[in-house]
Structures are given as structure tokens and as C-alpha cells.
């Protein structure tokens, strides 16, 4: 029975942990402007993150080396340093968006100025990083993040024309009011939101934190293969809610408050309260993960001791990096920059940075020196190579499209 509970907990945490401010905003924006015609990207992104997270989890469990150690060892210092700088800055951008997301969600419940919430949110993130055990932190934010199921409930309560939604998803067409360039720009943004690099840094470092052994790989595969797709379904329900309520009213999403209006219309104050709690938990969990990722990337690249399983005093520079990154992120937010805009840029730059971490992991997953007989199978390599092409195309097209469309206007 205990093992069953453990497995269930793992899956539920994966669902709750899958969504962050990037998924919330990008899916709502896409739903409010393109309806269901970009849902196929979420499916591709979810399959991609399943392949990537599962591979990096296996590499960490078998070789005991987390992502950025592998990047340093296989790419050498020069390419590794460029990779580190790009990944670190984009992770900082995502961290800023997540802390901003927490503040915006709290503003929804209290209409207090978000800039008052931001330092409070950052301090709370740091306190959890400093004191709370890794497993507890993961489980609580994951389970409470499950409140986002409220979006799926809202979709049912809205009683939409399911046939219409389904045909919109299965026959994607570019709406008349939007250009092709903007369509593909948001396809890349949605792909970047589903396959955020920090999820992989966190996932593989978590495998080392929790001292996974080869036998844990099967359980992690279950969490990923069940939890992430269900998380993907939640993303699609966010887009569907926006399609049903916001699209007909020409409401193009630019603020977090607009995203939750369909939930209020469907289930009133109670369902809205549940969803707001879910948003706070999901963005808070993601803020924890991105802060940890900033520590993981730097410490693993420079060979410092790292990890929450160690006392802070035994991983001093790791903890100092997280404190400094949180302060910088909060500083950026206090300048009054709109967290939703920061989020939109962070997901696109995530798509740009993906190859930097994907390629080394794909190479090492085939290297017997690291993996012994747990090297990639033929199927995993085929999937891995397909996504290598998809990821490279997305990364190359992201910046030109961002410039041509003026970041999706």
C-alpha cells in the first residue's frame, strides 16, 4: 500500500509541478487569439519533455552526474561556458517571471499592489529553499498545484460545443485576423513553455538529490509518462477556456486577471478561489525550481558542492548563488516591468536555449562509459533524433520570428 501511495504521490506531483506561469500565460494568450488551432504544439511539447526529462533522469540515476556536469565534461570549458551563460540568463528570466506570477496571483485575491507582494514572495521562496526538505517542498507545491484542475472543471461547466473545439484542434488553421508569422511565433512560444530547460536541470539534479538508483528509473518513467501528459491536458483546458469565453469577445489576453475570468464565469467565487490557490502554488513551485536551477547550473559547471540534501554550510557557494539570483530577479520586478511580458519573452528564449542542453544529454545517453548497458534503445534514439530536429528548427526560427512579429503583436 505504501508503495502505491508513493507512486500516486509521484504522479500527482508531476501533474501539479508541470504547469508554471509560462504555461498559464502562453496557453491563455494562444486560446484567446488562435482558438484551438495551436493545441497540436502542446502535444508535441509534452511528448518532447517526456523524452527529454526521462532521458536526463536516467542519465543522472545511472551516471550520478547531473545535466550541467555533463555539459562541462562533454562540451569542454569554452562551449560549456557559452552554454552556461545563455542557460543561466534564461533561467534568471524565467525565475523573474515566476516570482512575478506569484505576486500577480496574490494580487488577484487581495487587489494589493503586486509590487508589494514581490519581496514577500521572494523571501518566502528563499525561506523554503533554506529550511524545507527537498521532498516535502516538491510534494506540497505539486499537490496544491493540482488545484489548477479547476480549469478542466470550468471547461466542463461552461458546456462548450465539444465538436467545435475538437475540430478546431484537429484541423489547425491560421485565423484571418492573425498573420502566419505570428501563428508560428506563438507555436514556438508554446513549445518553449512546454519544454522549459529549467525543468530538465531540476529533474536531473533532483535525481541526484534524491539519490536515485537504477531501480528508481522505472518509477520516474511512470511519473513522467503519466504526470506530464495530464499536465499537458490542463494546459489545453486553459487554452480551451480562453477559446470559449475570451475569443468570441475579442479579449486578447495581456494580464493574469483575464485568464481566470472564464473560471469565474463557469464556477463562481468558489472555483475561482481554488484556481487562484493553484496558480499561487504552481508559480511558487516553479520559482523554487528556477532558483534551485540557477544554483545547480553554476555549481555543477564550476564543480562546487551543491544540493539541498547537504547542510547550507556544506554547499555555501550554491546557496549564495540562489540568494543573489533571487535578489536580482526581485530587483528586475521592482522596476515595474510587466511580469506577463517577461513571461512571454522567457518562453521564447527557452526555445532558443533548448539545443544547448538537449544535445549533450542525447550524446551522453548513448555513451557506455557513462551509462553502461543503460544506453538509449533504438526507439529512444529515434524519438530523440526527431526532437533534435524539431528543437533545432524552433531555436533557429525563434529570434527572427520575434523580430518580424514584434514579439507577437
Amino acid at each position: 500500500m505504501k508503495r502505491l501511495l508513493g507512486v500516486a504521490l509521484g504522479v500527482l506531483t508531476a501533474i501539479g509541478g508541470f504547469l508554471d506561469i509560462g504555461d498559464l500565460v502562453t496557453n491563455a494568450v494562444v486560446g484567446s487569439r488562435f482558438g484551438m488551432s495551436l493545441v497540436w504544439v502542446v502535444v508535441v511539447g509534452v511528448v518532447g519533455i517526456c523524452v527529454f526529462a526521462q532521458m536526463s533522469g536516467r542519465v543522472a540515476a545511472v551516471s550520478g552526474r547531473a545535466t550541467f556536469e555533463i555539459i562541462r565534461e562533454r562540451l569542454g570549458p569554452r562551449t560549456g561556458a557559452a552554454n552556461l551563460v545563455a542557460s543561466f540568463l534564461i533561467n534568471l528570466l524565467t525565475l523573474t517571471a515566476e516570482v512575478g506570477g506569484v505576486a500577480l496571483a496574490l494580487q488577484l485575491a487581495s487587489s494589493v499592489e503586486p509590487r508589494l507582494w514581490m519581496p514577500v514572495a521572494a523571501l518566502a521562496v528563499w525561506l523554503v529553499l533554506w529550511r524545507v526538505k527537498f521532498k516535502i517542498m516538491e510534494n506540497v507545491t505539486g499537490l496544491v498545484g493540482l488545484c489548477l484542475v479547476g480549469f478542466a472543471v470550468a471547461l466542463f461547466l461552461l458546456g462548450p460545443d465539444w465538436g467545435d473545439l475538437l475540430s478546431g484542434a484537429l484541423h489547425p488553421t491560421v485565423p484571418a485576423t492573425e498573420g502566419h508569422a505570428v501563428y508560428w511565433y506563438y507555436a514556438i512560444a508554446l513549445f518553449g513553455a512546454a519544454m522549459t530547460p529549467y525543468e530538465v536541470f531540476f529533474f536531473s539534479s533532483g535525481a541526484v538529490e534524491e539519490r536515485w538508483k537504477v531501480k528508481d528509473i522505472a518509477e520516474s518513467r511512470l511519473n513522467v509518462l503519466v504526470g506530464f501528459p495530464l499536465g499537458g491536458l490542463l494546459s489545453i483546458s486553459i487554452a480551451a477556456c480562453a477559446t470559449v469565453v475570451l475569443l468570441p469577445r475579442h479579449i486578447e489576453v495581456s494580464a493574469l486577471s483575464q485568464i481566470v475570468l472564464p473560471v469565474a464565469q463557469a464556477g463562481g467565487k468558489l472555483l475561482l478561489a481554488v484556481v487562484i490557490v493553484g496558480i499561487v502554488a504552481a508559480t511558487f513551485g516553479a520559482a523554487l525550481e528556477t532558483s534551485l536551477s540557477s544554483g545547480y547550473t553554476l555549481a555543477q559547471y564550476l564543480g562546487w558542492s551543491w544540493g539541498k540534501f547537504r547542510r547550507p554550510a556544506q554547499a555555501a557557494r550554491f546557496h549564495l548563488t540562489m540568494i543573489v539570483t533571487l535578489l536580482v530577479g526581485t530587483g528586475i520586478l521592482m522596476t515595474g516591468v510587466d511580469p506577463v511580458m517577461v513571461t512571454e519573452y522567457s518562453v521564447v528564449f527557452s526555445a532558443v536555449a533548448l539545443p544547448l542542453t538537449y544535445i549533450p544529454i542525447l550524446v551522453v545517453a548513448n555513451d557506455p562509459e557513462y551509462m553502461g548497458e543503460h544506453v538509449n534503445g533504438r526507439v529512444m534514439n529515434a524519438l530523440g533524433t526527431v526532437f533534435l530536429v524539431v528543437i533545432l528548427l524552433a531555436a533557429l526560427a525563434a529570434i527572427p520570428l520575434m523580430v518580424v512579429t514584434g514579439a507577437g503583436r
Binding site: L75, V363, N366, D367, P368, V375, N376, L388
Partner: protein, 112 residues
Amino acid sequence: MILSDLLDLPVQDPTGRRLGFCIDARLVLDAPAGAGPLAGARLHGLVVSPRTRTSFMGYERSGVRRPWPLGALLERRHAGTFLVLWEDVVGVERERILVAGNAVRYDARLRG
């Protein structure tokens, strides 16, 4: 000297003809052991790649050829990598490594 003095330097024979670039140094643990448990690591030879300046993920020597597109691409870039024994090295200067004219070129692939 430090290893960086050797790595990425062009390798030439006495006539000045370039044989390639030194992308790695092969060590053998057979020198007399110092204080620690491991034997001393003796500089045994230099791994030279005729075309590329730097090794990429050690592909050319580890016999790993998967995933297919990456493996094939890297293999072509590193074809013809060879090993030169250290005693055949005539001299190491700031800008190049001089190798004896009659130095034998060995297969650089590791047994793995």
C-alpha cells in the same frame, strides 16, 4: 609545462608540412607511483586530428556512433585521427609541435 601548451597546437614534420592539430595527450599509468595509490601518469603520445582543431565530445575515439545523425557527422570531421608516440616528438614551441619525419602514425582509437 602545462597541458594547454600542447592542446590545439598545429603539428608539423621537420619540413614544415602540417600533419594536423594536437587534440589530446595520451597518458599511461606506468610511471613509478608517488605518495598516492595510483601509478605515475607518463606522457605516452599525442592524439592528432588532420582536420579539426578541437575534439568534439571525444567522438572520434570512443567508437560511439549513435544517435545516427550526430555520430555520422562527427565521424566524418574526425576521420584519420592518429596517435604519435611522445619519443617521436622533436620539440614543442609556442606555435607548433615538431614531430620526427619517420614518426609512425598509429590508430588512435581506444579499445572501447
